[in-house]
């Protein structure tokens, strides 16, 4: 029974235009079906021989029910169901001559999916924890999934979860498929629930890089700074004036975070990524932040992160410059409400004061939750990052 409109749930076969043994080809009208909207001719989309008619004239069946069995080249192309779900049998209504049958293409019917039994509390908690509900067994009444099932599942998934697991990348082995599942659940939830908006700006890095080069000449090799430390510091200081981007969306409301803990997206060599946080970046100096970055990358890749680092991020910074990317339009990591992306630094011609010069430019982007902030605030935040990077000595 084809769906002859989005609101159609059932149809009644009024008459067959074919009988078993008939040869049909694509486009032939095979049956008349009555719906709330009138009598409609049903076309066939396969070529073959009608083997049997499953639904008799007068029977009302749901969309998706098998109406007839067709053999293509003598082979069955569709297995019959045990029994068609007959809703009601009524005498076949004579087709009214006045109601001219309308031929419309058949939209393949989608099987109605079985609705999962999940308690409201369990559903809410599963969203918070990023647990994929269909994959966990329910132990409540009638096999329903309860809060206990969700929390048990979260415990099990934890060792492989990005951004929530201390054991990610642990030497004893990494469940990449589980990690992928958790990333999938979190990212799908993010895109489903968070109304993202995106802004970007191009920042001149000349002063920052010049200052960095001068600074690094004074330092031993092991203590040299990378420009990513400047970026992270700039983000942290800019957040001080834009608290709407630093916090969590929980229970239908925004909760600003107490500190500024910047999650740094780190990709793992085996695949997958994690998002450990550098705590209180706004209160640390550049050396401390640099030390934290090196330490985190090292420990992330050897699997020795601490749980607080994995769960405490209040915003995420993704720097894909190393990968040659120009701009990053990221997916916010729930329950965070913003993600800052940086691309690679490239020399570009820039006009300033009537002169064109080559400048090292970087693209900074913001993906933010529109439930919490708007483009005006987001724009001010990007401008603040730019301004901070023009005074690198203060970072």
């Amino acid at each position: 029974m084809p769906s002859l409109g989005a609101d159609m749930q059932f149809g009644t076969v009024v008459d067959w235009r074919v009988k078993p043994g008939d040869t049909v080809k694509r486009g032939d009208v095979v049956a008349l079906v009555e719906t709330e909207k009138g009598v409609i001719e049903v076309e066939i989309f396969e070529t073959g021989v009608i083997e049997s008619l499953v639904v008799q004239p007068g029977q009302k069946v749901p969309v998706g029910a098998t109406l007839a069995i067709l053999s293509a080249d003598g082979k069955k192309i569709e297995a019959p169901p045990a029994k068609p779900a007959v809703i009601s049998t009524v005498p076949a209504a004579p087709v009214k001559e006045t109601a001219a049958p309308v031929t419309i293409p058949i939209v393949p019917a989608v099987e109605p999916s079985v609705r999962l039994r999940v308690s409201p509390l369990a559903r809410k908690r599963a969203q918070e924890l990023g647990v994929d509900l269909p994959s966990i067994p329910g132990t409540g009444a009638d096999g329903s999934i309860t809060i206990a099932d969700v929390e048990r599942s979260a415990e099990r998934v934890k060792p492989a979860a990005p951004a929530v697991s201390p054991a990610v990348g642990a030497a004893k082995g990494l469940d990449l498929s589980a990690m992928r599942r958790v990333i999938a659940a979190a990212m799908a939830r993010s895109k489903r629930e968070i109304p993202h908006y995106y802004l970007s700006t191009t920042i001149d890095m000349r002063r920052a890089l010049d200052w960095l080069a001068a600074e690094n000449t004074k330092r031993p090799v092991t203590q040299r700074l990378l420009y990513s430390a400047l970026l992270i510091r700039a983000v942290a200081l800019a957040l001080r004036t834009t608290p709407e981007l630093n916090g969590f969306w929980i229970d239908n409301g925004f909760k600003p975070a107490d500190g500024i803990h910047i999650g740094v997206a780190i990709s793992l060599r085996q695949g997958g990524l994690i998002n450990p946080a550098i705590h209180d970046v706004d209160k640390k100096n550049l050396d401390e932040v640099m030390g934290n970055i090196l330490d985190l990358v090292n420990r992330a890749r050897t699997g020795h992160l601490r749980s607080s680092e994995l769960s405490d991020g209040t915003i995420t910074v993704t720097n894909l410059g190393e990968q040659g990317v120009e701009s990053v339009f990221g997916v916010i990591y729930p329950p965070q409400v913003a993600l800052v992306g940086f691309g690679k630094i490239t020399e570009r011609p820039v006009a300033a004061n009537g002169m064109v010069g080559a400048r090292p430019m970087i693209e900074a982007t913001l993906a933010a939750d529109h439930r919490v902030s708007d483009g005006h605030r987001g724009g001010r935040f990007l401008v603040a990052i730019d301004r901070l990077l023009q005074e690198p000595e203060k970072l």
Binding site: S119, P120, L121, K124, A141, T146, I147
Partner: protein
């Protein structure tokens, strides 16, 4: 109850008791035994067998400045006075534009379990809880039986007190200085973590017993005694359910269109996202109350049924 009525008669000379057999016979449950001798026929008044007439007289007396306590033998008989209660007592303040309030207290017995059959044994207090303009009290504990009457008499509007017949003969200790209690809040009679058993009146002690039985199985149940069905203390219900995430309502009334249905509706309205299991009910079987003991026992909520229902809510099976 007798102490409460006597106390009220002593405290306020506007208070009098009126009803069928309350005087010479001492009340059909002996609640007013001895009061006629102490207070005389002006204040302990036997009435004809006409609920509509003496409830109407009570309304008139209340309008005239008295503080009547009208006793109706059972809630089944109160239906004869439904017009007086619902169309007059509950509405006069509103329809007089606030000129006349009705400080009337009506007491009646409710509930089954005494083999008094379908004429005397129904639990219709939930029906009365439907009506704006009256308050519906359902004391279960000794303290509430003793203390709710005076608070009800002080209320400027009509108050109905439903006394479950099975509770009259329960024994317990009452403090010598026991007195008036507030009537606006439900009470947590037993604190617990895993399920809120919400009940009142005649099923309170069965529910407390069920909670004890559940505790032996490792299920920690909280017992909420509603105490007042109108106005219903929604906040206490929601607070409890929000902590336990599960609820079972135990009510001797029938399910259909009942106070238990109303409580479920409020939980859905206010605590849907706190629920970890469907809210369940243990109520009376929807039949006129049978007379034979074994059928009457089977018709009303009992401890094993409450335990089984709670188990199903908490662990998914009985």
């Amino acid at each position: 109850m007798r102490a409460a009525i006597r106390d009220a008669l002593l405290r306020d000379e506007r208070v009098f008791l009126m009803g069928e057999d309350v005087g010479r016979y001492g009340g059909c449950f002996a609640v007013s035994k001895g009061l006629l001798d102490e207070f005389g026929p002006e204040r302990i008044r036997d009435t004809p067998l006409s609920e509509s007439a003496f409830v109407g007289a009570g309304i008139g007396a209340a309008m005239g400045g008295a503080r009547p306590i009208v006793e109706i033998m059972t809630v089944n008989f109160s239906l004869l006075a439904l017009d007086q209660i619902v169309n007059n007592a509950a509405t006069i303040l509103h329809m007089s534009g606030g000129q006349f309030n009705i400080p009337l207290v009506i007491r009646m017995t409710t509930g089954a379990g005494r083999q008094l059959a379908a004429q005397h044994s129904h639990s219709l207090e939930g029906w009365y809880a439907h009506i704006p303009g009256i308050k519906v009290l359902t004391p279960a504990t000794l303290e509430d039986a003793r203390g709710m009457l005076w608070t009800a008499l002080e209320d400027p509007d009509p108050v109905l007190i439903f006394e479950n017949g099975l509770l009259y003969n329960m024994e317990g200790e009452l403090a010598a200085d026991a007195g008036a209690v507030e009537i606006s809040k439900a009470a947590i009679r037993r604190a617990g973590q895993q399920i809120s058993l919400i009940t009142y009146g005649g099923t309170l002690f069965k529910t407390l017993q069920a909670a004890e039985d559940l505790a032996r199985e490792g299920i920690d149940a909280e017992v909420v005694d509603l105490r007042t069905l109108r106005p219903l203390d929604t906040a206490t219900i929601i607070d409890s359910v929000s902590r336990t995430h599960r609820a079972l309502i135990v009510d001797e009334g029938w399910k259909s269109g009942s106070i238990s249905a109303e409580i479920m509706a409020r939980i859905m309205e206010n605590a849907f996202y706190e629920l970890d299991a469907p809210v369940a009910r243990v109520c009376s079987v929807e039949v006129p109350m049978p007379y034979p003991k074994h059928l009457e026992d089977a018709a009303i909520p009992q401890v094993p049924g409450i335990v089984a229902a709670a188990r199903r809510v908490v662990i998914g099976h009985e």
